[in-house]
């Protein structure tokens, strides 16, 4: 059995397959595999008795349930007004240049993906960034790059 199938079946064995388990299950897969592959969505649909279109339609609604491949570390730069006022654009272009990827892209070593986020909830310490679940605030371009370099070592 593929890794994905095992992951899904283990989850369902533990939590059941009622519809309200769909989002937690999808989150679980993203946590392990960084995104929802075609195989994962097909398997989830089969295991939960849903149509693949329904699973895809639900997943694609939510910003954190990526249906396109993502790197191990997803860098989310907040782009909302308070961060915008504190020069988030400079950080974005610095990070983008540093990793040689544009927004929405993933580095060739599949380590980093760069996305923009709508308000991370750290407006008083703008600009803010998240790498997976970890939060970094009051960023400057050099500070952001230093943080990313630390992740590069991980």
């Amino acid at each position: 059995m593929s890794e994905t199938k095992t992951l899904i079946q283990e989850y369902i064995a533990l939590n059941g397959k009622s519809r309200n388990q769909l989002l937690p299950l999808l989150q679980n897969i993203v946590q392990h595999q960084n995104y929802l592959s075609e195989e994962a969505m097909t398997e989830v649909a089969r295991a939960m008795g849903l149509s693949p279109a329904d699973v895809y339609g639900t997943a694609s609604f939510y910003s954190y349930l990526s249906t396109v491949p993502r790197g191990k570390y997803v860098i989310r730069l907040c782009r909302n007004i308070s961060c915008m006022m504190k020069s988030q654009a400079e950080i974005l272009s610095a990070v983008s240049a540093h990793l040689k990827i544009k927004v929405g892209e993933t580095t060739s070593d599949k380590k980093f993906s760069l996305v923009q986020a709508n308000c991370l909830g750290w407006c008083h310490k703008a600009p803010a960034m998240m790498i997976n679940n970890e939060v970094f605030t009051e960023l400057t371009a050099p500070k952001a790059i230093q943080i990313i370099n630390e992740y590069q070592q991980k």
Binding site: S63, Y64, I81, C123
Partner: protein
């Protein structure tokens, strides 16, 4: 319109370290109807932004007989410029849990859910520890109530209470038709109270100090205090608990950088108030209500950029379900861009304002309806900046 001077309050974050769920223990001894009456006497209104009287919500939910009830804590704090719920959950989660438990006690719920936005997943461990402690206590109080955390997966509209229910049930977070309201037919069709994090924490405060004491604060229409989250051009960014009912003038005097030209009250879905209206604008339900977000702009800022950013936000975060919000937001954005570039005549702005008013009256949910707020208030007050 009644108003008073700016006054700092310390209720939400205070008296915590010693708290061992004493308020909860005490309150669970009381009669549910009496509890609800006290909450109604306090005049507490929902601290999310909508401002529905909390006591009344609990009362309705209690009145609706059903197999079971649910209590949901809305921690999908996604309004731009808001971060109070995060601070509350980090610093005083027991107050929130007490509020939820009291609500459950009054309405007959046995299960509570905290809908936590994905951005706050970093505090999962901390919250889980708090839940363990909480569950021990309620067990000691012989009260059957458990709380779970449901992690949102990134959606602004999930903050709309009926959309949140759909999300928990495993669907796209799209607002439901109302009526029926969640208090009648909510999660899994059961009567459900959905309150904001701050509302539950404030309820705990009210049961600690009493409704009489609490309602001495604020104004008759906006009793009490609330948390304000400040960002933008302010030397004092951060979280401040203030008595409701101050004027924006006093607020800006305290928090501005002496160069404030406008304040966005209530985030992307709120209103933009220009300097000339600071004196006459009261922050509260009699004036401009806010879920807490206060973003200050000084004279160096382009209000066109501000408006543009809000509209961009809405075009992405609208759930897309209803026509006015899905397409209207896109048209407003394209419209202001086109006028700015001179591709459309200045008079097109009037077409857009009419459209915004149509959106306000016909969108399916409160979020879609509120797009008109920033749009019209920014254009009304900064027309020159928007047009040219």
């Amino acid at each position: 319109m009644e108003s008073h001077e700016l006054k700092r309050i310390d209720l939400i974050f205070s008296n915590y370290t010693t708290s061992k769920y004493k308020v909860l223990e005490r309150t669970l001894q009381r009669d549910p109807d009496e509890i609800i009456n006290e909450l109604m006497d306090s005049g507490l209104k929902g601290r999310g932004n909508a401002g529905f009287p909390t006591g009344l919500k609990w009362k309705f939910a209690r009145r609706n007989e059903a197999e079971t009830h649910y209590v949901i804590c809305n921690a999908n704090e996604s309004e731009t410029g808001t971060f109070k719920d995060r601070e509350i959950l980090e610093r005083v989660p027991r107050k929130v849990l007490s509020g939820m438990a009291i609500c459950a006690y009054c309405t007959g719920a046995r299960k509570g859910i905290i809908y936590l936005r994905q951005e706050y997943a970093y505090m999962m461990e901390h919250l889980q520890n708090e839940l363990n402690i909480f569950h021990q206590h309620v067990k000691e109080f012989n009260f059957d109530f458990t709380v779970e955390i449901f992690l949102g997966s990134g959606s602004y509209v999930s903050g709309e209470e009926s959309a949140m229910l759909d999300s928990i049930e495993g669907y796209r977070a799209e607002p439901r038709n109302k009526p029926p309201y969640p208090i009648t037919k909510g999660l899994f069709d059961m009567p459900t109270v959905v309150n904001n994090v701050e509302t539950f924490a404030t309820a705990q405060v009210i049961f600690r100090i009493g409704a009489e004491e609490y309602s001495k604060l604020g104004t008759p229409l906006s009793p009490g205090s609330k948390l304000f989250t400040l960002s933008g051009d302010t030397p004092k960014p951060g979280i401040h608990e203030l008595e409701l009912g101050m004027t924006l003038q006093d607020f800006v005097k305290e928090f501005g950088d002496n160069n404030t030209k406008a304040v966005q009250v209530g985030g992307a879905s709120g209103y933009c108030i220009p300097q000339k209206l600071f004196a006459e604008t009261v922050i509260g339900f009699e004036g401009i209500p806010t879920g807490g977000s206060m973003i200050l702009f000084n004279n160096s800022r382009s209000m066109y950029k501000v408006l543009h950013e809000y509209l961009r936000f809405f075009t992405e975060e609208s759930c897309g379900l209803c026509t006015p919000c899905r397409i209207g937001t896109q048209q407003l954005l394209k419209g202001v861009e086109a006028v700015k570039k001179g591709e459309r005549p200045v008079s097109y702005i009037d077409v857009l304002i009419k459209l915004a008013l149509s959106m306000k009256s016909s969108a399916k949910c409160g979020l879609g309806q509120s797009v008109a707020n920033p749009f019209i208030s920014i254009i009304d007050n900064f027309k020159e900046e928007i047009l040219y």
